[in-house]
Symmetry: C2
Subunit: 316 residues, 2 copies
């Protein structure tokens, strides 16, 4: 029943960090790493490798920078086969800061890029591949990519990059199954020598459904987060993904445990998941930033006015 | 872009009534009816027609019985093209209580039935069709139906029943897209003279995704509820459905309004939507009743223990 090639990457701490300026406490990060390790999850993405010359470590927590010492502090002493992944953004990382794979606690580096920056992404990802890391390129805001540009980007990634996996990233949570199918088939068709991955957002409660759709069409790398934690509407819930995949190496119970113990209390402090403002930006295929701003205003439940403000914007 | 034949039925009050013993106040029901009418939704299901000889009107609210006088009290004076639907359960209705269509405020009667009761359902639905109502049969707990029994039931419904629509009901929220596709194709293939409908539950956050899947495979009747209100994990959110369907007759704004004004305050009083206990019963293809009991106990967040209690049950 199960497809052994499917790899599950949990990005709870990385994507969830976008809510709290990457300020998760070490105790929480260790609890997540232990749960993922016990559950048999393949990868844990622990944060971003951002340049400290561009961002202040007073303003942001440890997981904005992912110093090797901090990663070690989070994982040391926990028995695990779960590999550590870190994400880098084009133009925000100092590649020379990153040690060779053999000297680092990280196994994988994922380069997040918009279509327009794909040349920079290829340059970066090849640099990290040469340092010995498993690598991916994650194409963000895929719903805004023009088809001819996406074709060219995928062709370049196939012929010029050393990345092992290319991810389709539904940044705005606006994809329906039919477009997910179209994009995954298109990527599989061009990327003859690479794997395809799916990273979904849950604005329209379709993160899990679109991830299943991607799996049906042969994406083998799929992202989830525990209890769907992630920016705005959050991500594909890892617990549902483990329930769906039939690989006996996975055990859902440690994930259920850590949700009870760590995520239910956290939910009292920070907000994520499906609510109407994120549904609206998903339906309209827009970045959730306007919805996040609304949630921090005194009009947080004024949905109609928010909707009308977005559809009333003059774009011509 | 849009498919004119698709009809949207909102069952907020009917399915939501399973949480509060059908006790919604008239003010709330009127607000929902007004919003649905302004939004252009085709049908509003307002409750069940249950026999007062079987259930006490002291124990249950008005929408367990849907007396014609109560329906009129909820809708009179509101301009609307939205048709009223009521649901009946096999063995719980007195068919003779129900007046002919021309004397009733209801336009449609939906008969909910398990596969085993399909003969009774056909008898009932033909009775109501003869009284002039639009009619449907909703096959509940479809995930537990054996394929040969489902084939026979669908063949009987096609040849013996006067129902206009046959619904696939994912009572436990356990279907994935592939099985939804299988079931809808199977129903379409047998039901040559009828429409097929989809009623989904959201235990695995797949209610909307499975409803889209059903639409892709030519189901033309789809159920939603405002903000997903419904028993346990709730249903396909109507606001997402209206965002997806491109029929210009629909207007999402009245729905956004009524969520702000009525559903956000209601959320403080009753619980519905995705939480881990409902995810667990969905993954395990079980009725949510054990999860609902858990939520009313002092172990409401003990997910691992709950999961282990369900997988540990001896079924042989």
């Amino acid at each position: 029943m199960f497809r052994e090639k499917i790899k599950v990457l949990d990005c709870t701490i990385r994507d969830g960090g976008l809510i709290n300026n990457h300020g998760f406490e070490f105790k929480f990060v260790r609890a997540v790493y232990k749960a993922l390790s016990d559950a048999g999850v393949d990868y844990m993405e622990i944060g971003y490798k951002n340049s400290k010359r561009l961002f202040s470590s007073k303003e942001f927590g440890a997981w904005k920078f992912c110093d090797d010492a901090d990663i070690r502090k989070a994982i040391d002493g926990i028995e695990s086969n779960t590999k550590i992944s870190v994400m880098v953004d084009v133009d925000r990382v100092d590649p020379e800061d990153i040690l060779p794979r053999k000297d680092s606690p990280a196994h994988m580096i994922r380069v997040a890029s918009y279509i327009k920056d794909i040349d920079k992404a290829i340059h970066l990802v090849n640099h990290f591949a040469d340092k010995g890391y498993e690598t991916t390129v994650n194409i963000m805001a895929i719903s805004k990519a023009l088809d001819n540009e996406l074709t060219e980007a995928l062709q370049q990634l196939e012929s010029e990059s050393k990345a092992k996996v290319i991810y389709i990233v539904d940044s705005f949570g606006s994809l329906y199954q039919e477009t997910t199918e179209f994009l995954i088939k298109k990527a599989k068709n061009i990327l003859k020598t690479k794997e395809v991955g799916m990273h979904a957002h849950n604005n329209q409660q379709l993160a899990f459904g679109n991830t299943i759709e991607a799996i049906i069409h042969d994406a083998n790398y799929v992202d989830g987060t525990i209890y769907g934690l992630g920016r705005a509407a959050g991500n594909c819930p890892l617990e549902l993904l483990l329930g769906f995949l039939k690989n006996p190496k996975f055990d859902i119970r440690p994930i259920l445990d850590v949700i009870s113990k760590e995520f239910i209390p956290l939910r009292e402090k920070i907000e994520w998941g499906y609510i109407i403002p994120y549904a609206i930006t998903g339906i309209l295929d827009e970045h959730p930033r306007a919805a996040m701003a609304l949630r921090n205003s005194d009009k947080k439940e004024n949905y109609r006015e928010f909707y009308e403000s977005l559809v009333g914007e003059d774009e011509e």
